[in-house]
């Protein structure tokens, strides 16, 4: 990674964020029928990120200690545990499985 590459990567990320805000966001706010996408997009996209971080290893799928940590997190979220409890429990569960 060079200075030029950092500039190119940053430009691509900035442009996408601004396009989303000024183009996509305006379209959604002017189309009541599409307004609900504002809450549905994070549900779908963030869940995909969670899946990727939990079971992906490059382009292969792997069930390992991370899945146990996320199972613990899932139960705690379902039981409405505080945010910090969820995060710490996931780390502890994952670390414990790796120790075994």
């Amino acid at each position: 990674m060079s200075w030029a590459i950092v500039a190119v990567l940053a430009a691509g990320v900035w442009v996408q964020r601004l396009l989303g805000m000024f183009v996509g966001g305006r379209v959604l706010s002017r189309q009541p029928a599409l307004g609900r996408l504002a809450t549905l997009i994070p549900a779908a996209v963030v869940m995909a990120v969670i899946v990727q971080l939990t079971v992906a290893s490059g382009r292969s799928l792997e069930l390992d200690a991370r899945a146990v940590g996320m199972a613990a997190a899932g139960i705690l979220v379902w039981r409405r545990a505080p945010f910090v409890v969820v995060a710490v429990a996931a780390a502890v569960a994952t670390a414990l499985v790796r120790m075994i």
Binding site: V13, R17, A38
Partner: protein, 240 residues
């Protein structure tokens, strides 16, 4: 169902309270700060190891403002990919921030410069918390509070990762790599309690799972957008 001018605001509230009514509590913001601190440490230890320059690592972390982009770029280079392929992978994985900016943009009632600043700071936690607020001023307040908590953690994480990285040791041994996805799950927890949100997440997550082995990095995340469209199309009136 009561008729409201802003149907997305109605949809964004939940019957459970939690973050929906008053936004994240100080404890939640502290936990978010710690989450981004651990992310900042783990990511920047990795980046510094590859680029070998403290100043470049710090500038990359702050300017690109997307850990996933940095990791995707490095992963493709490590696998022997060209600069062009690595840059494209970095851009594609950042597309989720563009999608989150769409969500935030739909709920934000502020001027152009404020919109631009908020757009450039669109991340998963701050957008997800903000769009669950009913009042436009609460959307703005919650967004910037969460953004401040994230950056406090991210910037201090960069500093520790870059200057003290070698004393932290193997972050995976402590399960720190599980903190970020767990935190994300807690943040979308309220959205999952509604049938439309649960359907969007199930379709989006399931599609991502199917596509990970057969498509390039980033594509499974973009494809998850289909989950939101399916939920919109099949549950148009749900308000819960």
């Amino acid at each position: 169902m009561p008729v409201m001018a802003d149907s997305s605001a109605m949809d964004a509230t939940t019957s459970t309270g939690d973050h929906a009514a008053s936004g994240p509590r100080w404890g939640d913001l502290g936990a978010l700060c710690l989450t981004f601190f651990s992310l900042g440490v783990t990511v920047n230890v990795l980046v510094l190891d590859r680029v070998g320059s403290e100043s470049l690592t710090i500038v990359a972390a702050v300017a690109i403002n997307s850990a996933t982009t940095e990791l995707a770029y490095l992963a493709v280079r490590d696998a022997g990919g060209t600069q062009l392929a690595a840059v494209i992978a970095g851009w594609v994985v950042a597309s989720r921030f563009g999608l989150l900016a769409v969500s935030l943009g739909a709920r934000l009632r502020v001027g152009t410069w404020h919109r631009a600043a908020a757009g450039l700071q669109s991340f998963d936690p701050n957008v997800t918390w903000a769009i669950q607020q009913r009042q436009p001023r609460d959307v703005v307040r919650v967004f910037w509070r969460a953004t401040a908590a994230m950056h406090l953690g991210w910037l201090s994480g960069i500093a520790v990762g870059v200057f003290l990285g070698n004393v932290i040791g193997d972050a995976q041994r402590f399960g720190l790599d599980a903190v970020f996805p767990a935190a994300l799950l807690a943040i979308i927890g309220n959205l999952l309690r509604r049938r439309s949100g649960a359907l969007a997440a199930a379709v989006g997550g399931g599609l991502c799972l199917l596509l990970i082995p057969i498509t390039p990095a980033g594509v499974p995340i973009i494809a998850s957008l289909v989950g939101a469209v399916v939920a919109l199309a099949t549950m148009p009136e749900e308000t819960l």
